[in-house]
């Protein structure tokens, strides 16, 4: 499968974008020319120069540095969030879908109830309930999104479960646990990769949305969404303050989306 990935230009582009963001996260201090939180009121809204490649914001902080470090904030919340989300929804959905019967019915009814609340709503409500802000964002997103992901995973598991080779496995004496671990899960992994790649970009966008609403992080954190908070006052004077963080979000999310969609084309090819 890896060969197929590298043959598809879209996948390669997406992967490169993802890697670039990752590099920014790890090597932020090396790339950023200045300290992202260093306030220098005297030099606010400076023109782009050698010292400040993209100029400064309303508090005199280097814009480029803030953007680069912003990757860190977003990723450090997004990665564990999507990781836990993946584990929870996959486990739950696999168990319920594979067990079938009453367990599955209960799961469906419970899911219906949870899905009756739009995820953003749930997350907004929960964010306020936690002391540690970043942790709060993470938990809120997980609580909001697990149902939707679990529903999709359930569909995949059900489809896999009804394939003839599973019957063959059972007949040749495979235990149920072995079937799940060795056959079902490995066969849905490609689909899961698609789901969670595109899910990752949703999480990035959600995080920036909370920061924008002031619901999550401390004010002044170098985070892309947060950088847009005060920007609506600047729309006439410094529109670029609005454009840069958005472009960063676009780059990061698009990378994951492109990769995920390319992966989807590989897993589910459509004959012409």
């Amino acid at each position: 499968m890896f060969r197929k990935i590298f043959r598809k230009p879209q996948a390669v582009i997406g992967l490169s974008m993802m890697l670039l963001v990752l590099v920014c996260v790890i090597f932020a201090p090396m790339f950023a020319p200045n300290d992202p939180n260093k306030i220098d009121i005297l030099h606010k809204f400076a023109e782009p120069s050698d010292k400040y490649p993209l100029g400064t914001d309303d508090m005199g902080r280097c814009v480029l540095s803030r953007l680069i470090f912003g990757a860190r904030v977003s990723m450090s919340i997004a990665l564990p969030t999507i990781g836990i989300l993946a584990v929870i929804s996959t486990l739950l959905a696999t168990i319920c879908a594979y067990a079938g019967g009453l367990v599955d019915r209960i799961f469906v009814i419970v899911s219906n109830i949870f899905m009756a609340l739009p995820p953003f709503l749930v997350a907004m409500t929960l964010v306020g309930a936690f002391e540690s802000k970043a942790f709060g964002i993470s938990i809120s997103i997980i609580a909001a999104m697990w149902v939707w992901n679990a529903q999709v995973v359930r569909t995949y598991v059900l489809r896999e479960k009804s394939k003839p080779y599973i019957i063959t496995c059972r007949m040749s004496g495979c235990t149920e646990l072995r079937i799940v671990l060795k056959h079902i899960i490995p066969n849905i992994v490609p689909h899961l990769l698609v789901l969670y790649s595109t899910g990752f970009s949703s999480v990035i966008i959600m995080i920036s949305s909370y920061a924008f609403l002031g619901l999550g992080l401390e004010t002044g954190t170098a985070e892309w969404g947060a950088m847009l908070v005060n920007a609506d006052k600047l729309i006439y004077s410094h529109p670029e303050m609005l454009i840069y963080p958005g472009l960063c979000i676009l780059f990061a999310a698009a990378g994951f989306n492109l990769f995920g969609e390319a992966l989807r084309d590989i897993c589910d090819p459509r004959e012409g």
């Binding site: 009756a116 609403l213 999310a253 492109l258």
Partner: protein
């Protein structure tokens, strides 16, 4: 048939109950003691007695379930209590703020349909061609940005550089166009993919081939493919409407529209749990209802969807 509809309606009621309970539970997780907060606001340095008084007044001294039942009973009658913040009845402010949000969401739905269907059809017909690829790329970009950023970009383009629209306000219909567009564009991007996919599936299926083979006209075939491809789109449109209302907070902030989203965010930031409860409940109920309507429309397009078990495997 009626038995199926009744079963579905029963499930709907069950879901509504569950939703209200879940909402109440979520908002009760707030670590802030509302009684304390209100007492402080009233008396500046409240005594133990005063806090207890306020607590009893707000009904917060009862158990979770008692509170829930009371609240639900009142809510059904339209009485959401008074805001901790303003002390005024929530219901009035709620109704007032629903109006702009609804107008915005309705317009967004209109734009979404306007974009999804033609571009979906175009993509499917010119599959693999230049138009298809361009729409795809554009779609990915639109799905990779938050809707409020699109709002900002639209503002910069059409309100700052070209003085066609006002920057803020919610007076006339014209004011809602840009926010509705900001909401519609990311939603439409996803819908276009889904619709295109369904159309391609439809046109490459056996029944279309056989229908052509026996001389059915292309118009009739197009009609059949529509009935085949529309249900997933309708479902997404219904969900999209709900998501739009729920996520309207950010766009409302960008365009300074006093809608439900803004009301909710203000309540959250000021720990006004009662208002939060009310807003979340109303939005959730609307979400469930709109999804139900989408299901009904789908039942008309594909009557077998009612008899199929609710298993998400469509």
């Amino acid at each position: 048939m009626t038995k199926r509809i009744l079963a579905r309606a029963a499930m709907l009621l069950l879901v509504m109950f569950g939703v209200t309970l879940l909402t109440f539970f979520y908002t009760s997780l707030s670590p802030v003691d509302a009684a304390q907060a209100l007492a402080v606001r009233r008396y500046t340095r409240p005594t133990e007695e005063q806090v207890t008084e306020v607590r009893a007044e707000l009904g917060l001294d009862k158990t979770f379930f008692e509170q829930y039942v009371n609240w639900l009973g009142n809510a059904v009658r339209g009485d959401f209590g008074n805001s901790y913040n303003t002390g005024k009845p929530i219901i009035n402010e709620l109704i007032a703020s629903m109006k702009p949000t609804f107008i915005m969401a309705g317009m967004a739905l209109f734009f979404t349909v306007l974009f999804s269907i033609p571009f979906g059809v175009l993509s499917a017909c010119r599959k693999g061609g230049f138009a298809d690829k361009t729409i795809y790329l554009f779609g990915i970009i639109c799905m990779s940005v938050p809707n409020y950023w699109i709002g900002f970009m639209l503002l910069i383009l059409f309100a700052v550089n070209l003085p066609w629209f006002a920057i803020m306000g919610a007076e006339s219909m014209k004011d809602f166009v840009l926010p509705a567009l900001a909401l519609a564009i990311p939603t439409a991007a996803g819908n276009i993919r889904v619709f295109r996919s369904s159309l391609i599936d439809g046109y490459s299926s056996d029944f279309v081939m056989y229908a052509r083979a026996r001389g059915v006209s292309e118009m009739k075939i197009a009609g059949m493919v529509c009935r085949f491809a529309l249900p997933p789109l309708v479902t997404m449109l219904g969900q999209g409407f709900g998501f739009t209302i729920a996520g309207s907070a950010m766009v409302e902030s960008v365009f300074s529209i006093p809608g439900v989203g803004s009301m909710l965010v203000t309540a959250l930031n000021s720990r006004d749990t009662v208002t939060v409860n009310a807003c979340v409940l109303v939005i959730a109920v609307i979400f469930v209802l709109v999804n139900f309507i989408a299901e009904v429309i789908n039942a008309a397009l594909d009557p077998r969807s009612l008899t199929r078990r609710n298993s998400y495997v469509s």
